[in-house]
């Protein structure tokens, strides 16, 4: 065991927790109307509680436990049985197995939390809870198994996903799109614009995401080493490039650069560099940032408006599209000179890697679409996914939680 590695991964674990609460909670919370801000904070907060326990009881074993034909883990590690201080060399030889487990727990937590952006302002809390638990168990855990388990079948094909472009962002983003379409638009969407109620919250949350993402990406090296350093720098440069790119596109297209645009662009950069950061050089990470901000801007500002679905907070436009761009870009810009354990991408003469990355996207999209559709149908039949119309109008804070964020009169 190595104390430096252990210290870094423990620190990274806390950083990734910070991404969900308060990072994502405030990023999303500021974007909704004042009557729904607590519902977002509550959803993010309770996901941390619920999925942490799910992870301990059986989620971790399904995702990382001994593999059943590369498809799913068995329950040997349920209840963290055998997951203790002794390292598991298959994943990380220099840190306690329990540290690897709790680091991965934070990834399992934030992934379903990203989906909140798609059904914000109209989902029933009870349905959200059931959906989240089922989705984590039947979508996240298998996909994490395929890509990251030492016996996983996508890993065996040579797919590269350093910190979760496929497992975290494509999976949650595409599921978000399915949910947004199945749940339908918010009342009044398209007739009157729905304005964010507190953009400073959104900027605060976005900035905390950037900060926490260093743990997410550089922590995924599972060691305090050169790969972690490269992932850290690549993450930062892609994010800086994406934030600037989005603001410049807006300036050119709409006449003003907006802070919401800059922070949204930065998040697209963080998303896209996630699968790539351990395999690409910082300068290529910058190109990934420029590319993803441009494509996500088109997805959010142009294509979404044309297709007319109501992805409330652009969970698909940012995470689904950004994760796809990042996964494909990894197949273009990856190079063994950066990480010998990785692979060369298209730019370095290896067409095969790009094809494998494309296959991973297709598999993840197909799996997430089908499973999300099924889970939605089940939960909708039993609990009902959407709140009643008058509850939606009054707001989820008062109708789902019986509390209000802001007082107007003392």
């Amino acid at each position: 065991m190595n104390s430096g590695d252990t210290a870094w991964v423990l620190t990274s674990t806390a950083l990734v927790l910070l991404m969900t609460i308060p990072g994502l909670a405030f990023f999303y919370g500021g974007l909704v109307r004042r009557k729904n801000v607590l519902s977002i904070l509550m959803q993010c907060f309770i996901i941390l509680c619920v999925i942490s326990l799910q992870w301990m009881l059986f989620g971790y074993s399904l995702a990382f436990g001994p593999s059943f034909h590369g498809i799913i883990g068995n329950l040997d590690w349920a209840g963290l049985n055998g997951v203790g201080v002794a390292p598991n060399p298959a994943y990380a030889a220099t840190i306690p197995h329990s540290v690897f487990m709790i680091f991965q727990a934070m990834f399992a937590v934030i992934t379903p939390a990203l989906i909140i952006g798609a059904y914000a302002e109209r989902v029933k809390f009870s349905a959200f809870l059931v959906f989240t638990l089922l989705w984590a168990t039947f979508v996240y855990d298998p996909l994490a198994h395929w890509v990251w388990n030492t016996g996983g079948w996508l890993k065996a094909l040579g797919g590269l996903d350093f910190a979760g472009g496929i497992v975290v962002h494509v999976s949650s983003g595409i599921s978000a799109l399915v949910l947004a379409i199945m749940l339908g638009k918010r009342i009044g969407y398209n007739h009157k614009p729905i304005r964010p109620h507190n953009l400073p919250f959104t900027v605060l949350g976005g900035a905390l995401l950037w900060f926490g993402w260093f743990g997410f990406n550089a922590g995924s090296a599972l060691a305090a080493d050169g790969i972690a350093a490269n992932a850290f720098v690549a993450t930062h440069m892609a994010t800086a490039a994406a934030g600037l790119t989005w603001a410049l596109i807006e300036w050119w297209q709409n006449g003003s650069p907006t802070i919401l645009g800059a922070v949204t662009g930065a998040v697209t950069g963080l998303v896209a560099v996630t699968p790539a950061c351990g395999f690409v050089s910082p300068i290529n990470a910058m190109f990934i940032g420029i590319m993803v901000a441009t494509i996500c801007y088109l997805a959010v500002a142009v294509i979404k408006a044309k297709l007319g679905y109501d992805d409330s907070l652009d969970a698909f436009g940012v995470h689904g599209v950004g994760g796809t761009v990042g996964t494909i870009a990894t197949g273009i810009f990856a190079q063994k000179a950066v990480n010998a354990a990785g692979a060369d991408g298209l730019l370095f003469g290896n067409v095969h890697q790009l094809l494998v990355q494309g296959l991973m996207v297709v598999v993840a999209v197909a799996f997430a679409v089908i499973m999300t559709w099924i889970i939605f149908k089940i939960v909708d039949a039993i609990v009902g996914m959407r709140v009643e119309e008058n509850n939606e109008v009054v707001g989820l804070d008062l109708t789902q939680q019986s509390e209000a964020a802001y007082t107007v009169i003392e």
Binding site: P193, R195, P196, E250, Q253, N254, S256, T258, L260, G261, T264, Y297, V300, A301, V302, A305, D314
Partner: protein, 113 residues
């Protein structure tokens, strides 16, 4: 007795207050309001979605006065809030049937000042 309701530009509030104090009108209620008039609203953009003609921030003053203070009050508000451009606001005057001071029960003209 009259109730004078004025809708003005927020940044003119200090000038209007000063002008009112100069003519010895010191009692007023001030609220933030939203509104639209001949002045067009701002355009706001959120992730590429444009929203034109949002309601504008204005300040509303409610001032109750006796008859001999009506014209000086109008003059003071106009002096403080005037810029000559669209969006300066409006003044409405309505008859006031009664006025009661809560602390001592005084009624009518005595209760106003």
């Amino acid at each position: 007795m009259k109730l004078i309701i004025a809708i003005i530009q927020p940044h003119k509030l200090e000038a209007v207050k000063q002008a009112l104090e100069d003519v010895d009108v010191n009692l007023m209620t001030v609220t933030n309001v939203l509104g639209q008039g001949r002045q067009k609203g701002h355009t706001e953009i959120y992730r590429g979605a444009k929203e034109a003609g949002g309601l504008l921030n204005k300040v509303r003053l409610d001032i109750a006065v006796n008859e001999d203070f009506v014209e000086p009050t109008i003059a003071a508000i106009t002096k403080g809030a005037h810029s000559g451009k669209v969006g300066d606001g409006k003044i409405f005057i309505v008859d006031l049937r009664e006025c009661i001071r809560i602390s001592n029960g005084e009624r009518g003209g005595k209760a106003i000042g």
